[in-house]
C-alpha cells in the first residue's frame, strides 16, 4: 500500500475512533441522565378564572373552583402527561433558537353551567429560545372550535402584535370541526411582519389546535 493511502487510512481510522468514543460516552450519559418529568396538570383559581371568562358559568371564580364547575380531564399525572406528549407532542430546538414545541399542559372540561361539556386544552407551542406560546383552546361539546386565547408570550403578546389577530383567528374558525382545521385556514389571517413570518406564526396556533383535536378525540371516544 502506498504511504499516502496508508496515512489517509490511518487518519480515517483515528477520526472514526474519536467519533465512536464520543458517541459511546454521550449514549451512556443520555441513558443515565434523564430530564425530570414536568409537573402534573393542576386546576387552580388562576386557571378557573381564565376558563370562567371563556365559558362563563354564571358564578364567581372561587365558587366555580370550590363546586367543581370545571374538572381536569385527560392525562392526570406527570407520567401520563409525559407519555401522552411523547406520543402526540414534540420538543426540539433548531440551531437558530426556534423552539419547536408541541406540548399538552393540561385539559379541562366544564362540568356544570350553561357551557357544560366544553373542553379546554392548554398547550405550549412554538417560540424563540426560552419563549413559548401558552395557549388555551376551547372546543364545544359537539367538537367544533369555540375560542382560542393566548395567555403569555414575549413575542406574540396581545400588546405587541397587530391587534385583532387572535380575534381574526377566532372569527374564521368559529363553529368549524376541530379535526378539520388546517394550517392554511390560520395562515391567511395573520400579517407577515410578526415574528419570523406568517408561517412561523401560523405554526404557533396550528400546533395548539392539533393537540386540542387529538385530546378531544381521545376524550370523546372515551
Amino acid at each position: 500500500m502506498k504511504s499516502e493511502t496508508k496515512s489517509a487510512f490511518k487518519s480515517a481510522m483515528i477520526l472514526a475512533s474519536v467519533a465512536a468514543c464520543v458517541v459511546l460516552v454521550l449514549a451512556f450519559a443520555n441513558a443515565f441522565m434523564k430530564p425530570p418529568l414536568p409537573p402534573p396538570p393542576k386546576l387552580e383559581l388562576e386557571e378557573v378564572a381564565i376558563l370562567n371568562q371563556i365559558a362563563p358559568t354564571g358564578v364567581d371564580d372561587q365558587t366555580a373552583l370550590d363546586e367543581y364547575y370545571f374538572v381536569l380531564i385527560g392525562p392526570q399525572t406527570a407520567e401520563e402527561m409525559s407519555a401522552w406528549n411523547e406520543l402526540h407532542g414534540n420538543t426540539s430546538f433548531k440551531v437558530t433558537g426556534i423552539a419547536r414545541y408541541k406540548i399538552l399542559l393540561a385539559a379541562f372540561k366544564a362540568d356544570k353551567g350553561p357551557h357544560a361539556g366544553t373542553v379546554f386544552v392548554r398547550t405550549l407551542t412554538d417560540g424563540y429560545y426560552d419563549i413559548r406560546a401558552d395557549i388555551i383552546t376551547a372546543i364545544n361539546p359537539d367538537g367544533t372550535f369555540k375560542h382560542m386565547r393566548l395567555l403569555n408570550n414575549a413575542i406574540y403578546t396581545e400588546d405587541n402584535y397587530a391587534s385583532g389577530d387572535i380575534d381574526k383567528i377566532n372569527a374564521v374558525l368559529a363553529g368549524r370541526p376541530i379535526g378539520q382545521i388546517t394550517a392554511n385556514d390560520i395562515k391567511g389571517q395573520l400579517p407577515i411582519v410578526i415574528g419570523a413570518g406568517a408561517t412561523e406564526t401560523a405554526n404557533v396556533f396550528r400546533l395548539a389546535i392539533e393537540i386540542a383535536a387529538a385530546l378531544f378525540s381521545e376524550v370523546a371516544n372515551g
Binding site: S11, I14, V18, V25, L26, M33, P35, D130
Partner: protein, 210 residues
C-alpha cells in the same frame, strides 16, 4: 517545573482575557449576559468544556495526525458541549429554561478551538488543564461582569443595555476600561522593574549602584 511558563499560563486568563483582550466567543457573551445568573452559568459551562477539551487534546496530541486535528478537536468539543447540555437538562431544569438554548453554541465558540489548537496540543496535560482553567475563569469573569453591568443598568431604567446593541456598546466600554487598567498595571510594573534595576544592578553586568 518551568516557573515562568507556569506563571504565564496561570495569568493567561487575565493578561489575555478571552472577552476583553482576545475578543473571542462574543456570540454567547452578548446573547446571554442580560443577567448575572445566566451569564455566570454560561461562563461556567464554557469553562468546563474548555478545561476538558484542553486535557483530552493534550492527552491525544501524539495520536491525532496533523491532517485531521481540527476535525477531531471539533468532535471532542461538540461531545463535551453535549454532555454539559444533557447534564443541565437533567439536573438543572430551571437553568435549562433560560440558557438551555445557547448551550449548544459553546461548541462553536472560537475560544475553545483556538486554545486547543494553539496551546493544548503543544503542551503537557498539566499546563493544558491550567490554561483551560485560566482562560475559562477569565471568560467567566468577563461574561459575568458584562451580565452584572447590563442587569444593573437595566434595573436603573436604562433598558437599552439589555438589548443586543446596548450589550455590544457596553462590552466596548468595558473592553476599553479593562485594557486601560491593564496598561496602568503594566506601566507601574515597568517603572518598578526599572527602579529595582537601578537600586540593585545585575552583578554580572558590572553596574554601579546610585
Amino acid at each position: 517545573m518551568d516557573k515562568k511558563h507556569f506563571k504565564q499560563t496561570l495569568l493567561g486568563g487575565f493578561v489575555s482575557n478571552p472577552v476583553f483582550v482576545l475578543v473571542l466567543g462574543l456570540c454567547p457573551t452578548i446573547a446571554k449576559s442580560t443577567n448575572i445568573v445566566d451569564a455566570f452559568a454560561l461562563g461556567a459551562a464554557t469553562a468546563f468544556v474548555l478545561i476538558c477539551t484542553n486535557v483530552l487534546v493534550s492527552l491525544l496530541k501524539k495520536a491525532i495526525p496533523d491532517k485531521i486535528r481540527l476535525i477531531s478537536y471539533i468532535i471532542i468539543i461538540a461531545g463535551f458541549t453535549t454532555l454539559v447540555d444533557i447534564f443541565i437538562r437533567a439536573y438543572l431544569p430551571a437553568l435549562n429554561q433560560t440558557v438551555g438554548s445557547v448551550i449548544p453554541l459553546i461548541a462553536v465558540n472560537c475560544l475553545i478551538l483556538g486554545r486547543a489548537d494553539s496551546f493544548a496540543r503543544k503542551n503537557k496535560v498539566g499546563y493544558a488543564a491550567l490554561d483551560g482553567a485560566s482562560m475559562g475563569i477569565g471568560f467567566m469573569i468577563g461574561i459575568t461582569l458584562l451580565g452584572a453591568a447590563r442587569q444593573l443598568l437595566g434595573m436603573a431604567g436604562l433598558s437599552v443595555f439589555t438589548t443586543a446593541a446596548g450589550g455590544l456598546l457596553l462590552l466596548g466600554l468595558l473592553l476599553g476600561l479593562y485594557n486601560y487598567i491593564r496598561s496602568l498595571i503594566y506601566t507601574a510594573r515597568k517603572k518598578r522593574t526599572r527602579t529595582l534595576r537601578r537600586i540593585k544592578p545585575n552583578p554580572f553586568k558590572g553596574g554601579k549602584s546610585q
